[in-house]
């Protein structure tokens, strides 16, 4: 009995994870790949027709390729617009939070409050703020004599507004991650730098940032993965036209494109091909990340 318990229980303990993962993670992964080689209708899911690589060639060079490359480009620009400022602001904020502060827990909690807001609620508030005629953003700009901006209609303005939603929700979260890493930096390093006459800005650049490298890499990867899968914000920002990423597809991401093709246009095979393309993209990001991490480790 005892032997059976010690030998068997580890497997019993890990089995719920692997059973659920096999059913709802691994099986869908392979099934999506198989479906991506078929033509499947949303309304008749059991009659899949083999089409080989047609879904992929269509995406890259066929009729929908215009929208595919557009969505890929938008995913990229939205990713840059939301990830880069977000992480840079977060690291600066963490630096400020790292001072001896009065009411430090108030500041931490306030900065994290957007994280506790749902995608839908946050996006709707910002959609109202950026609404064309009467939105608060245009009213505010008007105080400085700037003409109203058609935020949702423009390509850059809409992407800027959407990346602001992402930045608003996630900056505080990342700031806290950076803060934790900063607090683990040994004080001696700063002492030595101070004795060498390094200014506080130089200490930040030459002590804090290098010590934070692994954390920076971690947040870059997590934010990039998040940005690659961006869906709720562009979907809801456009109201009626959200499912296609704006009236002119101007902020359609790969995630929105997949939803539109699969669940609006009933082409589940093509949607599966888009999903697998996104997966390949994420693997590529992971690979680049691993290479960078290895080089960083070697250089230290």
């Amino acid at each position: 009995m005892y032997r059976w318990d010690t030998k068997g229980s580890p497997y019993a303990f890990v089995s719920p994870f692997f059973l659920v993962f096999a059913a709802f993670g691994l099986f869908p992964l392979l099934y999506t790949g198989w479906l991506s080689l078929h033509q499947v209708s949303l309304y008749n899911v059991d009659q899949a027709k083999w089409v080989g690589l047609k879904n992929y060639t269509d995406l890259f060079t066929g009729p929908p390729s215009h929208f595919f490359w557009n969505a890929l480009g938008n995913t990229f620009t939205l990713g840059i617009l939301s990830t880069v400022p977000q992480l840079m602001i977060a690291i600066g904020l963490a630096h400020l939070l790292n001072y001896k502060l009065r009411a430090s827990s108030f500041f931490r909690t306030a900065l994290l409050a957007p994280y506790a807001t749902s995608v839908a609620a946050a996006t709707l508030v910002f959609a109202l703020i950026f609404s064309p005629e009467s939105g608060m953003a245009n009213w505010f700009l008007g105080l400085f004599g700037v003409d109203p901006v058609a935020w949702e209609a423009g390509e850059w303005t809409s992407q800027l507004a959407i990346s602001l939603i992402v930045t608003w929700r996630w900056t505080g979260y990342n700031a806290l991650i950076f803060l934790a890493a900063m607090q683990a930096v040994p004080g001696d390093l700063y002492e030595a730098a101070a004795l060498d006459g390094a200014s506080r800005w130089k200490q930040f650049l030459h002590v804090t940032v290098p010590a934070l490298r692994p954390t920076i890499l971690f947040t870059v990867v997590v934010s990039t993965i998040g940005a690659t899968q961006l869906f709720g914000e562009p979907f809801l920002f456009g109201g009626q036209s959200g499912h296609q990423g704006g009236t002119a597809h101007q902020y359609e991401t790969l995630g929105v494109f997949m939803y539109d093709q699969g669940f609006r246009n009933s082409m589940l095979g093509r949607a599966s091909a888009i999903a697998w393309t996104m997966f390949a993209l994420l693997l590529l990001i992971g690979l680049v990340n691993a290479l960078i991490a290895r080089r960083l480790r070697k250089s230290q």
Binding site: S9, F13, Y99, V119, L124, L179, E191, L236
Partner: protein, 310 residues
């Protein structure tokens, strides 16, 4: 078996940092790191501005939700709450998303609650096995867990849709609960915590006393893992509550939506009464904000803790 061990004291990142930098050193390195330095007025100015920017959209949701269709879009925009809050709340409570926001709230609570209980308990069991038990195949299995961290949600929605349709589970809440019952992150998080927090001697002692594995988990592992369980539970609840892609596919056009699906219905519908939409957004956000205000300190600590260890 008697109570084996009191809950292990869990150190936060702050406490560790303070332990590493005794007071004497704080004073001697005045020109050193930010940590040793008192914040200047400029720091406070910046932080107050950022805190305002963080909180303002939340405040403005409340203001907009308390106006009417006309006032919410007037220029200049209203800055203090109006008198329509309860009228608007009551309207979305009864009408949003088919059966009203009240049903949506109940559904989201059920889904996020079940997902949280499942994720925390299964992650605890698997994390404990990976952290402290020896068994053939352990390394390979842990590798598989880590590899699955990067599988995106998009990959599973089409097959899940087909699966649920064939099983007749479409529009049913279990379609939202079942696929999320475990996460690789949860297993990883628990393993990282237990490797450090759970002394192996304690397990051996319990074994010597003749406890079987389940008793060990219940009387030794759970008490020690409690803080990590709380953090993982809160992170999972927030994530599950905010899940959007799969619910909007599985529950599309359903009269039984989650909060997110009901809000999406308000936002993409023909109605453009923003005061009503904001009332919905307020109801959808309040429960999480409430959790956040009650447990904010632990969530803040948990995020920093998980990040350092992850």
């Amino acid at each position: 078996m008697t109570a084996v061990h009191p809950a292990a004291p869990v150190r936060t990142a702050d406490q560790d940092a303070q332990a590493q930098a005794p007071r004497r050193r704080l004073r001697s390195a005045r020109k050193g790191a930010g940590r040793q330095h008192h914040a200047g007025p400029l720091t406070y100015v910046v932080l107050v501005l950022v805190a305002l920017a963080s909180l303002f959209p939340l405040y403005w949701t409340l203001v907009a939700a308390s106006t009417d269709a006309h006032a919410v879009v007037s220029t200049p925009p209203p800055m203090v709450p109006g008198g329509n809050l309860f009228k608007n709340l009551s309207y979305v409570w009864h009408n949003a998303g088919g059966r009203g926001m009240g049903v949506a709230l109940l559904n989201s609570t059920l889904v996020a609650g079940s997902v949280t209980i499942g994720t925390v308990s299964f992650s605890l069991l698997a994390g404990f096995a990976f952290a402290k038990l020896q068994f053939p195949g352990r390394g390979a299995m842990m590798g598989l867990v880590i590899a699955t961290l990067a599988v995106p949600a998009q990959l599973s929605v089409v097959p899940l849709f087909i699966l649920m349709k064939n099983l007749g589970q479409g529009n049913h809440l279990s379609a939202l609960i079942l696929p999320s019952l475990v996460t690789a992150f949860g297993v990883f998080f628990m393993r990282q915590f237990l490797v450090q927090a759970l002394p192996s001697e304690l397990l051996e002692a319990a074994r010597m006393d003749g406890a079987n594995s389940l008793r060990v988990v219940w009387h030794v592992v759970v008490p020690i893992a409690r803080p990590a369980m709380a953090v993982l539970g809160m992170l999972t609840f927030v994530q599950s509550w905010n899940d959007f892609l799969w619910p909007i596919i599985a529950m599309n056009g359903s009269s039984n939506p989650t909060v997110q699906v009901a809000l999406a219905g308000l936002g993409t519908g023909w109605s453009t009464d923003w005061s009503i939409i904001m009332a919905g957004a307020l109801i959808g956000t309040l429960p999480l904000l409430l959790v956040f205000v009650l447990f904010g300190k632990h969530i803040v600590g948990g995020i920093t803790q998980g990040a350092v260890k992850g």
